[in-house]
């Protein structure tokens, strides 16, 4: 019998994390006398910053079964799909131009999607697309770990996920072998405890086929070889898209086969009231994601925004552009249209989103030693953290309430 696990992670930020999880599964399986292999998806390389990528672990009883399982591009019947960042539940769009793949697409019927998130399963379910069969959704309550490329952030996310997998798919790996593998690989008893705790705490929720996001995932048709032009010539993209009723507005041409819906972990919200129309965000945005509206405002188009935050950094007006956690949004609608329609509603909405930023602090990897300690302190001050680190919990004002 074979079992497989896919780990969906953010390219580069979580590369080491994804590799550690799949490697851990295979090491544990070997302890049970099985064989296994962990590998990354070829189409994701070279990985791009923030663009979703995948890593797989396949475990089998013998060599032949393993070989039979590997004769395909990616395992299509996974027992567990791990989303190490909760915003990945909105879908996976690899830069190899497949369109948007729902997070549960490669999960087998009755399989589990496991996410690390501070959201409840019900909230997270709003992001996940529907599936024809019944499946399970499990959440490890944790702040998604952005380990970064330069420094690995060892916050035990890897071992906690391993422990949870042992509970959700015991026929792939068992807890005892996971514990043995952790001892062998990292030699840390605290990590073993973390894995065991995650094993005890993780809970899966059944999801019916009629639950979840009813939106049809974005897709496109690749041209067939006989449709392509002679000499490998491919057409360029028109410079500008006409927008109906936008007298004087301008929307640059955008890629019809690659959208950045699933690349973002942050999203800019713009306060159009205090915008001075200085053009800096539009000029400096590496992805040209800003549409110029007829009134001269700059509207971040979610089709092209990858959430880098350059606009926030160059904006000269205080609090005009704010980067907010992507998890706080459910759709990709235009902010400017909302502003045009109902200014007061927009203001309330904007205020709510900006306040959300304080609660859902996000960082993308570390730059220097000791930054993790600083981040922990910051999270404790924001009321996000209430366990584990003694010294922080003892400080006045720490913890929720």
């Amino acid at each position: 019998m074979t079992g497989s696990v896919e780990v969906v992670y953010r390219g580069i930020f979580q590369k080491h994390l994804g590799q550690r999880i799949t490697r851990g599964i295979v090491l544990a399986a070997v302890k049970e006398g099985k064989v296994g292999i962990s590998f990354g998806r070829y189409g994701d390389s070279p990985e791009r910053n923030g663009i979703p990528a995948k890593s797989f672990a396949v475990v089998a009883d013998n060599e032949e079964e393993l070989q039979a399982h590997l004769a395909r591009y990616e395992p299509s019947n996974n027992d567990v799909t791990v989303a190490v960042d909760d915003t990945l539940c909105k879908g996976v769009e690899s830069w190899a131009w497949y369109g948007l793949q729902p997070i549960n697409k490669l999960t087998r019927a009755g399989g589990t999607v496991l996410a690390t998130s501070m959201q409840s399963p019900e909230e997270l379910l709003k992001d996940c697309h529907r599936k024809d069969a019944e499946w399970n959704l499990a959440v490890i309550k944790a702040i998604p770990s952005f380990s970064g490329l330069w420094v690995y952030k060892d916050d035990h996310t890897d071992v906690r996920i391993l422990g949870a997998i042992a509970r959700l798919a015991p026929h792939v790996v068992k807890l005892e072998s996971i514990e043995a593998a952790i001892r062998q690989e990292w030699g840390d008893e605290l990590k073993v405890t973390s894995a065991r705790k995650a094993y005890e705490r993780v809970e899966a929720r059944k999801v019916r086929p009629d639950e979840g996001n009813s939106e049809k995932p974005y897709e496109f048709q690749l041209p067939k070889w006989w449709e392509m032009k002679e000499g490998l010539v491919i057409p360029g993209i028109p410079v500008q898209q006409e927008v109906e009723g936008w007298n004087g507005g301008y929307r640059p041409g955008r890629n019809p086969t690659f959208k950045k819906f699933s690349t973002r972990t942050m999203r800019p919200v713009v306060d159009f009231e205090i915008c001075t129309k200085c053009t800096l965000c539009w000029l400096q945005c590496p992805d040209s994601c800003f549409d110029v509206t007829p009134s001269g405002h700059y509207d971040a188009n979610m089709e092209a925004c990858c959430g880098c935050g350059v606009c926030e950094a160059v904006c000269p007006v205080e609090n005009c552009i704010t980067m907010v956690n992507e998890a706080a949004f459910d759709d990709n609608a235009s902010q400017f249209e909302m502003y045009e329609k109902e200014k007061d509603t927009y203001k309330t909405w904007l205020k709510g989103k900006i306040e959300d930023k304080v609660v859902t602090f996000r960082s993308h990897g570390f730059r220097y030693r000791g930054q993790y300690e600083e981040e922990l302190a910051q999270m404790a001050a924001g009321g996000q953290l209430h366990s584990g680190v003694q010294s922080i919990n003892e400080e006045p004002g720490a913890g929720p309430g």
Binding site: I12, G236, N247, G248, P252, P286, P294, C306, C308, R367
Partner: protein
């Protein structure tokens, strides 16, 4: 609705010309994109682009679409300038002399692998515009050091820091006796724009070297792309100048140069440097500025 409101800093015509390049799969906070953008915007439809293997080639092409609205050739690593030469002569033979042939290459495709073809095209003084976007590593293949990596910077292939000095590409190109050589940075877009314009008017081999940082390789948060580039220019680590017919002219001289350690502190790749090494770098920068006209 009616007429669009006038824009304070940018001429109105500009508003309808950005950008023929549209973005495919570049990283968050990519520094090469602004460099490509402005090029596409300024030279517009009368241009053909040749791009050797690089990040730019990857985000420019997919199976179904080309990101550039102009003829675009994805060429092999070693010989983009040679291919550009061929394209130039083909256009000339067909009487299309007003078409600009542009090479858009990374620092590895320019200074290491593609250097012999580049040097050849420059010494023949072919009528092409060569733009090198310099992120100081070979990032499309996971960040190996190139000869354009600055001294002491950490990369996956030089964990102790690059032992050699950064190759001074613009001056090597100027030594070929080409009519126009310039450096630019993506934080100083007006300067880059003016240089592109000037380069477009000159006939013969023109070389532009654009500093375009990479958040992953340099190790800074990806919203800081513009800040880091600005710091490189204002600390004097990156000099903005142009060399017209052998005469060098500094195009931007910071009023008071910020200390180099401010630039180093922004990036993870210099995190291992001690104070003495930072001072040594500062000294080198001071000397290079003293030597300028």
């Amino acid at each position: 609705m009616g007429r669009p409101a006038p824009l304070p800093t940018i001429p109105r015509s500009r508003r309808f010309s950005l950008p023929p390049v549209m973005k495919g799969t570049a990283c968050e906070g990519c520094g090469a994109l602004p460099a490509a953008d402005l090029l596409a915007e300024l030279l517009g439809p009368k241009m053909a682009v040749i791009c050797p293997a690089s990040c730019a080639a990857t985000f420019s092409l997919s199976y179904t679409n080309a990101s550039w609205a102009v003829p675009f050739v994805h060429w092999i690593f070693e010989s983009a300038p040679a291919a550009a030469t061929g394209l130039r002569h083909a256009y000339d033979a067909r009487g299309m002399r007003d078409v600009q042939v542009v090479c858009f290459a990374g620092d590895s495709g320019t200074l290491d692998i593609g250097f012999q073809a580049l040097s050849g095209a420059a010494s023949r003084n072919e009528n092409i515009l060569y733009i090198c976007y310099d992120n100081e590593v070979a990032m499309n293949t996971q960040g190996q050091a190139t000869s354009s990596s600055p001294v002491r910077a950490r990369t996956p292939t030089t964990p102790g820091g690059v032992p050699t000095l950064k190759k001074d590409a613009p001056r090597i190109m100027a030594a070929h006796g080409v009519p126009y050589v310039a450096t630019a940075a993506v934080s100083h877009l007006a300067d880059y724009r003016a240089k592109l314009k000037r380069a477009a008017r000159v006939r013969g081999f023109r070389y532009l070297h654009v500093l375009s940082p990479c958040p992953i390789a340099w190790g800074y948060p990806h919203d800081q792309t513009i800040e880091v580039t600005r710091a490189a220019v204002e600390t004097g680590m990156w000099m903005l100048y142009e060399i017209t017919d052998g005469r060098m002219k500094i195009s931007y001289r910071p009023k008071r140069r910020r200390p180099v350690r401010e630039y180093l502190a922004l990036q993870r790749r210099f995190a291992h440097l001690g104070r003495r090494e930072a001072q040594r770098l500062q000294k080198r920068v001071d000397e290079s500025w003293r030597a300028t006209p």
